[in-house]
Amino acid sequence: MKKVININFQGRVIPIEETAYEILQQYVESLRKYFANEDGRDEIINDIEGRIAELFSDRLKKGSTCITEDDVNAVIASMGRPEDFDTVEETTSRKQTSPQQAAPTYRYASNGRGRFYRNADDKIIAGVCSGLANYLGIDPVITRILFVLFFGALFWVYIILWIIVPSQSVQSNVTKRLFRSADDKVIGGVCGGLAAYFNTQSWIPRLIFALPLIIGLVSSPFNAWFNDWDFWWGPKVLTGSLGFTLFVTYVILWIAVPVATSAAEKLEMRGEKVDVNTIRNTVKEDMESFKSKAQAWGSEVKQTAQEFGERAKGFGQTAGAQAKAFAAEAGPVARRTGSGAGHVIGILFKAFFLFVAGIAAISLFGLLMGLLFGGFVIFPFKDFILEGFWQNALAWSSLLLFLGIPILALITWLIRRIMGVRSKNHYLGYVFGSLWTIGLVSVIILVGLFARNFKSGSEKEDELSGFVQPTKGKLIVDVAPSNIRYYGGDWFGIHDEDFPVYGLNQDTLMLNTVRVNVVKSKDSVYHVHKVRFSRGRNPESSLNSAEKIQFDIQQKDSVLMLPKGFAISKDDKFRNQRVLIVIEVPVGKKIMLDRSLNNYDWFNLNMNGRRRWNANWDDNWENSYSWRDNVEYVMTETGLKRTDKKSDDGYDESPDEEVIAPADSTHPKANQPAKPNQKTPYRYKGNEKKEKPAVDSTKQESATTEENDPTQQNETYPSLIYMLARIAR
């Protein structure tokens, strides 16, 4: 009792037994594979199918009710199996086999063992991996994965094997492909397919994929119990990164690997079908190879004997004849070595390009990964940078689409290539392409919106009120030790001191973009000015956010306590807020800046009028008097001077001079009064506000005006060159 189904075969409706249909399908599939590299593949298959349909019609006309297995087998016998084509065509076109293999028997890989060939039939680059796998009797996928994983170490091994190992058509014994299993599935059939592929029970891959989830579920009560469990390598690795990796792997396999639907695919999924025929062939081939080996050995002995005789004969010949013989012999040898050298050079060239391509691909991959994870690291900041639904949506889409998609595509491609997954449809490529385009567009829009938010800059300047002149004529500047405990130190794995942004909790961001400048006072007292900068979409908004900066300076007798930083909230947004403290020191008075001031960072996001912006880590102090921490200075008429009479050594630019002059005093603009309509965002106008006319007002002016010079440079120099120059320094 057999089920009969109707199939549409070459435009005919043909009733066929289900089992017969499966055989037929397998047969057509095997033909398709056999002719895969043929030019008119589809046409050949069509012709053959047409002929089969004709034979079927004949049979049905003769009174059969349906096509049976026997009918199909008879048809296949008359058409021939792919392996039968080989015996006929072997010498016609397809393969150039050496004389020993010219025997019309079919070579199986198991016999190829013992000799290591590069596999000419199943190759991605040069067939080294599959040849090696064949030699070792393992799955090529394993060797390929090894070579990909240890690309760096095994690259040269691959190249050397490529050069020294001959290429040979080694009939691969494994026609396994990775499919998703349709029958054995829980979610996507990935585990079932993997189990079939690696010939194990399907619970093994399932457990591997599910284990992190289970551990996560088990450990979550503990996590809840120990609220802030910083046991970094334990549960976090197992449940966090590993689980995530496996999850991503599963999803990628789900996307990249097709489902096994047809019978042939199901068989391929489990590897080669083993039937009586192949076993018989293998045994026969074994016997024959032994016989031929024996024969070859016999003939070799004979040949050696002959050669010996000939050599003896040749030895007796005249020198002229010898020379002639030598010339005749040397010719082909030279030619052979020549072609050998050409071969090696060719391979080296190929290898070189491969190497370059590989390096490019890997660095691209690394860059993308870096950007992606960098993006994830920065992501908690987004609430402080972005505003509104649209910017957030754009941020998500650019992160996931623009950066995620190429990585996904690359991994998909790699998996498909290694696992020999065939895809019939190309929609995945189009999907990836269009998603990536969406990502690109959102990146462009996001950058535009982002830059607009930093377009204009404002500053708010006030003199510190209630500042009491320090006794003993010495001012010490220190940073107040913070007694506020911020949300975990390694929130992003970035240490406090390393980054201008630190101590972030859910809705507060601490910035330490603070800088202290020391200038000469125009009168006989200390002055402290606080300048708050910010950027914004327009002058009003930037001024508004500058005014919102809370930076309260406290004084304890002669010590000026600066806060560690200032907080901005989610509503304020990050707009490159900065604080500049300008301390005017009168001549003859002393100042010391504590070491803790080094913890301040300063960078300037400058979106200037020409719509160019750069992140300027402005950590040099050449605009005012440079100072070093924990050193006592005294202000003189010409500038700051160390009280301990030692010169600033090492990295100071003017070690010979005791007096540290303003670095830009030679600048042509130094003595010019500043023009109020200059483009620079801020000019310190300290002395202009004084009631008392300052004696050395121009000098004072010069010292402070120069502070704006880097910004001017930024506007004239191309920002990139500027950045490069900074890096090079």
Partner: protein, 114 residues
């Protein structure tokens, strides 16, 4: 079979008129040359792609329409070339095989002065 001989056989059958692949197989079988249809179809496609053959569809009452192959101008030329080569080869082989007289004696080796 040597490269080209199969093509030669097929062309020599098609030369005589339009032929359907299974006819070709039958013809060859009658001449005691056994060939599988699965081998024939790719060959025909290759020859057709090389402009040696052309075909037309003929409606058949016992299945899908059939492809009937015929020789093109180029195919005929190729056939003639093949024929000439074949005749040359066959003549040479026949001449060699037909010779009965023994070869002239090889001069004795002069390595006695070793």
């Amino acid at each position: 079979m040597r490269k080209g001989i199969l093509e030669f056989c097929i062309l020599s059958i098609i030369r005589r008129g339009e032929a359907y692949p299974s006819d070709i197989v039958e013809e060859m079988r009658a001449a005691n040359l056994h060939i599988l249809e699965g081998t024939l179809y790719p060959l025909l496609t290759r020859l057709k792609n090389a402009d040696m053959l052309t075909y037309r569809w003929v409606e058949s009452n016992s299945g899908p329409p059939r492809k009937y192959f015929s020789l093109t101008e180029k195919g005929l030329q190729f056939y003639q070339e093949l024929e000439a080569t074949w005749n040359e080869l066959a003549n040479a082989v026949n001449t060699l095989a037909a010779k009965k007289d023994s070869l002239a004696n090889v001069p004795t080796s002069n390595n006695d002065n070793l």
